[in-house]
């Protein structure tokens, strides 16, 4: 076997120009695949991170009926504050749970006295929510501040920028929130605008607001909450921790993961992976054809050598091995160079701070980062090497079907 590897190695060096072309092709394709995968990987990481830490949490817990049907009256399926607090204590005992917090979802009409418009609000536990959304919340504030001292003064609100614009509201302005109470009557409370934020989604910006939980409960005349949001220590631990959470909660409440609550994530993931698969297939076919072309030329040029070896009784298996080694050397060298190239480009571009334009349906751009992993690099390198072997196997198998005399007389 060593002899065949030695011959293969020397042939790669002997036909160095052709080998350089083939190795370069494999290297370019490998680095392209790595960068594509790195980009997609970062996109999913960024998206999932935005979803979870942007407010959805890793999972949410609510009354089973809320997950399965619709409320006919406000907070019909709400959870009592006491029950929610007990559940939060139990949840936070789990080592994988970072924090759990109550939320109340409500809607109504916001008015500045002259202009009125609908809103979709979230009443939240400010201290915990700040920790959950720490970075994204601060980054999203475009004027004013986040909610502060909500225990002492719950009468404050954060408006999404579109809603603030509709209400012509500025920081420090008073606006009135009107909503239906759990008893069906209308209630109104005046609040001060503390901050204006960009949710990142233009449609949401037109209607969204955030208030302290106490204010939302006072507005709706209730002690209830809509759901409990659970944040885990690790973003990727959702699947692992889910069974433990199910064991903690009682039968009348149910849990939904962030990707169940944001089904578009899976759709986006499927679309991206479909595009990546098609692109990978095209690039791999190009790689296969390129190496196959080089190896076919090599096999044809060395047809007499093949015939000579056959005349000395060298088996077809060993001759195939020789050419497969040659393909493997080209494939391995190409993937090695391609991987290095991919890592260098990924590092340089990721450090450059280049911003991509906002994706469809979003109002903010995002940095161009390639998130490469060792696993993906190994898989792509392994795949490219196998492909190079296959690309070598095909022409030599075809050549070995010729009679020895035809191989010797091949011109």
């Amino acid at each position: 076997m060593i002899e065949w590897f030695k011959i293969a190695w020397r042939n790669v060096l002997r036909n160095h120009r052709r080998s350089i072309v083939a190795i370069s092709t494999v290297a370019i394709i490998t680095s392209s695949l790595l960068l594509s995968y790195g980009y997609i990987n970062f996109t999913f990481f960024g998206l999932s991170n935005n979803i979870v830490n942007g407010g959805l949490g890793n999972m949410q817990i609510a009354d089973n009926r809320l997950w399965e049907s619709f409320e006919s009256t406000p907070l019909e399926f709400g959870m009592s504050n006491k029950k929610a607090d007990e559940l939060i204590v139990d949840l936070e005992k789990n080592k994988d749970v970072k924090r759990a917090m109550k939320r109340l979802l409500f809607s109504g009409i916001a008015s500045n006295g002259e202009i009125s418009t609908i809103f979709s609000g979230t009443g939240l536990e400010n201290k915990k929510e700040k920790l959950l959304q720490s970075r994204s919340l601060l980054e999203s504030i475009i004027s004013g501040n986040t909610l502060r001292n909500t225990d002492k003064n719950p009468y404050q609100v954060l408006l999404a920028k579109g809603l603030a614009s509709k209400l012509q509201a500025n920081i420090g302005d008073n606006i009135t929130l009107l909503s239906t109470t759990i008893y069906g009557s209308i209630n109104a409370i005046d609040v001060i605008v503390k901050g204006i934020y960009d949710s990142g989604i233009p449609d949401t910006n037109l209607i969204e607001l955030k208030t302290p939980l106490a204010l939302a409960q006072e507005l709706m005349l209730t002690e209830k909450v809509s759901r409990i949001v659970v944040q885990l220590e690790n973003l990727d631990a959702t699947e692992k921790v889910l069974p433990e959470i199910k064991n903690i909660i009682s039968d009348d409440v149910g849990v939904r993961t962030w990707y169940q609550l944001a089904p578009y994530f899976r759709s986006v993931e499927n679309i991206y992976y479909s595009i990546f698969t098609v692109m990978t297939t095209i690039l791999l076919i190009l790689s296969l054809l390129s190496i196959n072309n080089v190896m076919t030329t090599s096999v044809n040029e060395r047809m007499q050598e093949i015939g000579t070896l056959r005349a000395f009784g060298i088996t077809k298996k060993d001759i195939k091995l020789n050419f497969i080694f040659e393909g493997l050397i080209i494939g391995f060298s190409g993937t090695l160079i391609g991987s290095l190239l991919g890592f260098i480009i990924a590092f340089t571009v990721s450090q450059s701070g280049y911003m991509m334009p906002p994706p469809p349906g979003r109002s903010q751009g995002y940095p161009l980062i390639f998130m490469l992993t060792i696993n993906s690099t190994l898989i792509i390198a392994f795949g490219s090497s196998i492909l190079a072997m296959l690309a070598s196997y095909l022409p030599i198998s075809k050549a070995l079907r010729k009679k020895v005399v035809d191989q010797l007389n091949y011109v």
Partner: protein
């Protein structure tokens, strides 16, 4: 007797046209022989050598090697004969360009001599016999035509072949080198006892050989 051919024919079919390259040849070759096959171009010399060397198959007829009937459908038997009993010297030398002279010899006996040390020793011994021990680490492109053919002769003898076939071994060499090559082959025939069977149409070389088989239009001429 080493070789016995009975009624061997080879017909090439090209569409509607059939060409009989070897026509009902009966031939017996004794051990230790040194034989030349002579004939004009297209007479069937190369085809006959290819059939005897088991790198081509006869259309009809029987072929016995060392008393055993050769079955062309038995690839194991063919591979064993090629790797143990047959040696080839080609007109274009056919040395592997990426291997040195010693390595070219060693690769041809990969199966018949298992120990790499023994292979190397034997290769160097044979290179000494053909007068090229000082060129043992040279690659083919660092050798002259005559030197390359000497390496090719040594390579043919690496596996203790009973029969060494050479198709026009001197065609690409000048007349002096060609004579030297034939003399070397004769010497090795006498020293090692293997049969040499080669084709040529060079009259000067034929004068050096005792046994000549003449062939014309695919038939042996008596």
């Amino acid at each position: 007797m080493l070789i016995k051919l009975e009624n061997i024919s080879k017909v090439f079919n090209n569409g509607d046209i059939s060409v009989t390259a070897v026509d009902e040849v009966d031939l017996e070759i004794d051990k230790y022989s040194f034989i030349a096959i002579s004939g004009p171009s297209g007479s069937g010399k190369s085809t006959l050598l290819n059939i005897i060397g088991l790198i081509d198959t006869a259309t009809t007829g029987k072929y016995y090697f060392d008393g055993n009937l050769v079955d062309h459908n038995n690839s194991n038997q063919i591979n064993l004969l090629r790797s143990n009993d047959l040696g080839f010297i080609f007109q274009n030398f056919n040395l592997l360009p990426v291997l040195t002279a010693t390595e070219n010899l060693q690769i041809s006996s990969l199966y018949s001599i298992k120990s790499s040390k023994e292979r190397k020793e034997k290769a160097e011994h044979l290179l000494e016999q053909v007068g090229l021990i000082d060129k043992k680490d040279n690659f083919p492109n660092q050798l002259s035509g005559g030197q390359q053919q000497r390496v090719a002769i040594a390579r043919a003898l690496m596996r203790n072949a009973k029969l060494v076939l050479a198709d026009e071994p001197t065609a690409n060499l000048d007349s002096t080198t060609a004579l030297n090559i034939i003399e070397l082959m004769q010497k090795l025939n006498q020293d090692l006892g293997c049969v040499f069977l080669f084709s040529t149409h060079d009259e000067k070389l034929l004068n050096q050989v005792n046994t000549i088989i003449k062939i014309k239009d695919g038939r042996l001429v008596k």
